[in-house]
Symmetry: C2
Subunit: 622 residues, 2 copies
């Protein structure tokens, strides 16, 4: 099926939008009227440009308030339609989207609307144009696709069909199964958009918060299944009004859009064994068994501090890279690479590193089939990271996530070709054993990359995402979203300032690695004994904890003396503590999950954030 995108989904002038859509492989576009009006190219020039780019102009839109009007306005509508049909002929587009009337003066008269749609379609025929009639979710009288179809069916004109838009249908909670009752050849056009579930005026919701499939909460695979079952074979077109996309780089957004469509088509194949052959069949994401390693980029000063911290967390340096300034540290099945060259290379949003800073520059996941993981990532337009490797070194595939983090797919087996072979073993030292592995990695995202990043990690790695939550840092809200693999083997937390612009909360830029342990108090004693400073938690926190949970005094006193935080859900309990900062933007967490606790201690995060500012300011006193 052809893939299309509405010009309103992309930023820039109309010419830039066409270029971006073509660049990432869209087959066609919907042209939004205001993009054309604001454009200096004539319709004929635009037609030629689209043809040059290999793009088909699939739709011209919108034609507003066409039906349900008085005779005088209908005459004006026909005059307006003639002008638009002529323009469409110049533009080389044969389908016009007409939306249901939203005017307070619209008449509630199905016969009148049917008749006017018929006459409009009849006039359209003279110009070789057809009309795709769409029920807007906020239409005055026609706000349900089934109503729009009744009018179209009653008019029964070959030049008249319906346009289905997933947002208008799913935002109203209308059952999309009814789409199967519409003959496929009367579905003239299909527009796809996802959206987060927001309880707000549907018009504002639609104009500002639509997003690409997989970034919101709608069941678009189910929706698309109904449309295909009805026999629709036209283009799949993304029509997404989104404040962020309006100001983002057009080609970046187009890539995000195309990735969403590939993932959507693929989920349809997987879930419905569909009738339709898709251009690109994705290979399923291999199972992930956890993190193979997490790489921290450091400068020489940061390296010293990081080594001291890792040592204090019970890690042992077990290997030295044969050709690069990289060391491998291990504790239990947790592996950290300390890399003295990687900083500054990959993170576009960060040009203000200071001496001693550290950052997560790469995560590596244990894939059951690294090659398949890499092919899937490439099919989802994940850019490969060009890597140099010496003779005999492992050829690890890495891709670059939207936030600049490198993602590696590995299999950590002591066999030939394993990445572990790139490291010379160092003399064994006494090993600790309170850490069992990496629990989660929290990555800060550049402002406005949030939805793109979630879809990227989710689709490329085959994870599921939780709903986003907002956390109150003392200096602003931070939005946070977890993406998680099966059995919690791979957990990622993505953070971003909730509001762009202005001085945003620093904690939105913090990254951390959380290690899993089986006894938080054993861990905290070991870490303290090693002289690693913990993040102090205020006494007020424990007074409140005692007031609201029924733990005994001794338990709370123990937590208080160790700066251990606590959370509890119906599923289980969570104990955790934090180290002081490594540089200005990184720290470590130790977590103990009891029974089925599946969260991240989010209720405690504001306490952590406030303490970090205080602790950092205090460190200046040393």
């Amino acid at each position: 099926m052809r893939r299309s995108i509405a010009t309103v989904s992309l930023s820039g002038t109309l010419e830039e939008k066409l270029t971006a859509a073509a660049q990432v492989g869209f087959d066609g576009v919907e042209i939004f009227e205001s993009d054309l009006i604001n454009c200096a190219s004539s319709p004929a020039e635009l037609r030629a440009r689209a043809a040059d780019l290999g793009l088909r102009i699939e739709l011209y839109q919108p034609f507003r308030d066409a039906e349900g009007v008085g005779p005088e306005q209908f005459a004006a509508n026909l005059r307006r339609a003639r002008a638009k049909f002529a323009l469409m002929a110049e533009l080389g587009v044969d389908t016009l989207l007409a939306c249901s009337n939203v005017s307070p003066t619209a008449r509630c008269d199905d016969d009148l609307s049917t008749n006017q749609l018929y006459r409009l379609a009849d006039l359209a025929g003279d110009y070789g144009v057809r009309i795709a009639y769409e029920a807007l979710a906020w239409g005055r009288h026609v706000d349900d696709y089934r109503h729009a179809w009744r009018l179209v069916a009653a008019a029964d004109h070959p030049r008249l069909g319906v346009c289905l838009d997933s947002f208008h249908i799913l935002s109203r909670g209308h059952d999309p199964a009814g789409i199967r009752e519409i003959p496929g050849d009367k579905i003239f056009f299909l527009q796809l958009a996802d959206a987060p579930l927001l309880l707000m005026d549907v018009l504002q919701w639609s104009r500002h918060y639509r997003c690409f499939p997989g970034q919101g909460s709608f069941d678009l695979a189910g929706f698309l299944g109904h449309v295909l079952a009805a026999g629709y074979r036209g283009p799949l077109s993304l029509e997404v009004f989104n404040d962020v996309f309006r100001q983002a780089d057009a080609e970046r957004t187009a890539t995000d859009a195309m990735r969403s469509l590939i993932a959507l088509q693929n989920s349809l194949v997987a879930s419905q064994n569909s009738l339709i052959a898709f251009q690109k069949q994705l290979e399923p994401a291999p199972d992930l068994d956890g993190y193979a390693f997490v790489e921290i980029g450091v400068d020489p000063l940061g390296e010293i501090v990081a080594e001291r911290m890792l040592g204090g967390l019970g890690f042992t340096r077990v290997g030295r890279h044969r050709t690069k300034p990289v060391h491998l540290w291990e504790h239990g099945s947790a592996r950290i690479l300390l890399n003295r060259t990687r900083l500054n290379r990959t993170r576009p949003a960060r040009d203000d590193w200071q001496r001693g800073d550290a950052a997560v520059t790469a995560v590596a996941v244990e894939s059951r089939d690294p090659g398949r993981s890499a092919r899937r990532a490439a099919a989802l337009l994940a850019p490969a990271v060009p890597r140099r490797y010496g003779p005999g070194e492992a050829d690890l595939t890495a891709i670059s996530a939207p936030d600049g983090t490198s993602v590696f797919f590995c299999r950590s087996e002591p066999t030939a070709g394993s990445w572990l072979g790139d490291f010379e073993s160092l003399p064994p030292v006494p090993a600790h054993s309170f850490i069992t592995g990496v629990d989660h990695v929290a990555l800060s995202q550049p402002s406005h990359y949030f939805d793109e990043a979630a879809l990227f990690y989710q689709s490329v790695l085959g994870l599921r995402h939780d709903d986003p939550v907002e956390i109150a840092d003392p200096y602003g809200l931070v939005r946070s979203r977890a993406v998680t693999g099966a059995r919690g083997a791979v957990r990622l937390v993505l953070n971003v300032p909730a509001l762009g612009g202005g001085p945003s909360p620093e904690s939105a830029e913090f990254q951390h690695i959380a290690f899993a342990c089986t006894d938080i108090f054993v861990a905290v004693e070991a870490v303290r004994a090693a002289g690693i400073p913990l993040l102090p938690i205020p006494a007020n926190y424990y007074a409140d904890l005692a007031a609201r949970v029924d733990l005994d005094e001794a338990a709370i006193a123990a937590m208080r003396s160790c700066h251990v935080l606590y959370d509890r859900t119906d599923e289980g309990e969570f104990y955790h503590f934090y180290t002081a900062m490594l540089g200005r933007r990184m720290f470590f967490e130790m977590v103990q999950r009891v029974t089925g606790y599946d969260g991240y201690g989010t209720p405690n995060t504001p306490v952590r954030m406030a303490s970090q500012y205080r602790h950092t300011a205090m460190a200046g006193l040393d």
Copy 2:
């Protein structure tokens, strides 16, 4: 009456919030529980700090889900309450805000809730505490202040009263007149917040979009009138959850907050001739008769271009400042000052001036009483601009708006002491007469200063504000809001990127001065004849205009050939055109209002924005 602010309305740590509130003269604060929990100071230390700062702690909040619960949870609630009451004693605060239960398991049983509130109040008495019970707008069963009052009245305990929050009452559309039926001494606390009218989930609306009185759409003066009529004499406390304020500088927000409260109290005095004596009685804003002048800051290159443009717009240089590099230009009653020293001095958000740039650095309004205008501005915490003036020069009062623009209050009469006397007259030259005056000035605002700026200009100058509108620039949405004086004599348009962060649309940073004329075609011919380049408007715009309005072809052809845009409302018609850019961020507009047209041609703004990008890119080709 005492003035108070909730700590949640300000950014930072609790200590920073207290300092900011004290700094701008608040008498007290409400302490939000999470601010205390996240804080390293003990309650006793906070009490001492507040006392040092001269702040009274008026309220501790919130105590959630207190009533309508089963016996087991109620026992836990009493245990929790004991801990909080003890904490409040340390803190030295005697009122606890208890909110209506929001839990899905809350019981719908007024007798039960009444009984539990009574018992809670009874326990509170042991600690010298009283309970202010508040109906949250999203309470499970109690979501109306009248319901909360019924429970409190039934419990009839001296330690139990209600807390009224304007948001919870007005967001639900509940009639605040019922407040008069509550005895004033049973209104234990009053929280004030405004909000824009949004059709969305009231919880989200409350948590993210509250704003200070006068920045939203609620009738807070009417609301407050009812509360005072009931006999309430406690503090007026601002409780505003707002994403922008969370990340703004706390003292800046506190100033904004205090200004809103002064203006609110004043509007109450004006509208209701209230019973209450307020600390600061504002002098009424004098009538404004238009712009005395608009000052453009330029560098030497910009000055040459600006002079050429002003000349082409029919302005004549009529005066030279006696001591400063400033020239006065006139056309009709429009006056422009070209100032070669002012650039860069006042605009905090702009540190990237390039050679040849120009900006509006000051606006001066014709006030019937400049002295009174200045005193009113000072009472509203507008910072004065320190100015140097030579012997015999006029002592003009200027204040600094949030965006850095200086605002002067003048009386342009040829009398002793008038600012006009600071200029030496230049030899007369033939005068043009197609411009009648300054129609409006459009000022770009730093990201996130939008509500603050609107309230500032509105309250200080005594203007009214329109609802904000959003305009689609090709590279992002721009939010725009007009503030207008009586008879349209002074019109200001404030623009800001709708979304902070990311690459925001350049047009949100553009400023312009619009001149009024009586015949747009006479004006356009004169400007063209003078060789001033106009902003080209694409042919597609006129094709669309012809399709949608019933103007004859010749009229449209005339507009098209002159790049004149057109708008029409029920009130009248609007013709306008734009010049090319002066520097990178300023331009001029010429407007003709026909009959009662009161807008700004906003439907045409996207066309202007798109053309400006194109035109600027083309200029690079010259």
